[in-house]
Point group: C2
Chain length 342, copies 2
Amino acid sequence: MRIVVDAMGGDLAPAAPVEGALLAARELGVGVILVGRPDQVREQLRRWGGPADGLPPGSEVVEATDVVGPDEPPVQAVKHKPNSSLVVAMRLLKERRGQALVSAGNTGALMTAGLFILGRIAGVDRPALGSVFPTRSGRGCLLLDLGAVSDCKPRNLLEFGLMGSAYARYALGLERPRVALLNVGLEEVKGNELVRKAYALLKESGLNFIGNVEGRQVPEDAADVVVCDGFTGNILLKFTEGMASAIFGLIREAASRGARAKLGGLLIRPALRRVKGRLDYAEYGGAPLLGLAGVVIKCHGSSGPKAIRNGIRVARDLAAGGLVEEIARGISRLGTGREGEA
Amino acid sequence: MRIVVDAMGGDLAPAAPVEGALLAARELGVGVILVGRPDQVREQLRRWGGPADGLPPGSEVVEATDVVGPDEPPVQAVKHKPNSSLVVAMRLLKERRGQALVSAGNTGALMTAGLFILGRIAGVDRPALGSVFPTRSGRGCLLLDLGAVSDCKPRNLLEFGLMGSAYARYALGLERPRVALLNVGLEEVKGNELVRKAYALLKESGLNFIGNVEGRQVPEDAADVVVCDGFTGNILLKFTEGMASAIFGLIREAASRGARAKLGGLLIRPALRRVKGRLDYAEYGGAPLLGLAGVVIKCHGSSGPKAIRNGIRVARDLAAGGLVEEIARGISRLGTGREGEA
């Protein structure tokens, strides 16, 4: 098994992707294909040591002279930068040089390159972006779509449920993942037109559909996979990121006022750091792009080596399990789904 | 100025509404009309003391024999319980016995009673539910709609902006509140069809419209009023409630493991309690129902006396400022808005 790694993607590239890939190679026994500017990649390899130039057996460096920035418009970036690490990495996946791809680069560009180069699994209308949100049990809950599809049809939500279920089976190790619909109430009649129609489709899908969940139930392990339209999901993602950082900011502030709070803050700091770790969704192994004809994992832009390593682990599990084939089988069982079009 | 208070609404009724009303009467100098079961209300009045039976001058108790439960279907509850405290309170507001209404009862029933009994301000298509979210500065940001209108048209978002702006002027004391649209990106072209059309309307509205904001900017004081459709808003509200409680749960757990963390937790507890207080949106004075032909404030179901008192303070400020009249003027300036219908 070899995993293609975009060595130039993310705020901490190339240091973090290279170190994360080396960690994965050593600890998980996978080969890695590091895609990026060879001089910069080799400099990092030397820093982290190892035999010869630090490259583990079965691994290689593939040259890509260009880099896609985090804020570049996706379509333009992919069209005008064919030699960027992100685009070259996607071509290597397409050519089956590696069995999966991991990148901490520009999310939109990654999805665009996936659509242009890999294409979709037959029958999938719109690929989605998921992410495992932290839950109390520590197991996590896959939420999708987080922004790939802003205007959803009911059929899209059905496909998200199917793709998310396949992901949860291989990445979270669940035999029959519980799939739920994010809604404003538990009853079938709740919500807007989109979710009411999606409810009917999910109920008949053969998935382990447990009905609606409300937002407050997600951190409480109420479901393993939660589907929503990409507009709602993206807003939720960014809102919770902002809120968690605001909460920890307020705690830091409170712990700097007065001797008592200062001492308490000092003593409790390691415990708080563990809490932050459990909330950090980078820890959970990145965000899958689901519905593309290949396994693609997006790691958070600020990913450190550990988050990259975790992304590679998940990518390996998904590729080994046969994620793409399973989604293809599931979609063909669903049929054309014309009745789901709204 | 007299404020009608639903004495039987909320998890802690009648104790919390009665005590909160007494606090408001003493500290703010308003009269209160306590609506509920007279024996239960008077028992609470005796508990909290004061002259005669504890009722401040200018205040009274009005009998309502029935109570609407927190989970009752709104339309049924309002139709079948004409003598419930919530419905009687709304009638008193309609008859101008009081200038505003405060309730911690069933939100849906409160909105339904408002629509049936008070009616809408002329020209308002759909009234909305707002709430002031905590922000770093402590000033707060009004987010609306939080669930009254699941399927929104662009015109609804425009009206939310106008109504929210009027609220922020009187409740938050801002001369020219910054109104923003909740979206997945900052550029005008971002988001789904609904928000793209709403953007165009808000830009031409004469409001102090500052464009799109992303969720992570809300706690950072990026805007004073943020509008979104009720489906997204309700999901966001419940998700953040669940997440904040999960974070504090994890911190509590972490602070109970090991002597060092335990001591740290003990020392920092008062500081953490202050942080929780700043995050608690009950502290910010309740959630306004905007677009009804009267000032109605919904307090959180778990409101204690202080939250009720704060709700009454905001209700007084809005009634004194002439919120309903200002919204009416704003709506008539906007015109019929046919061009905004989607």
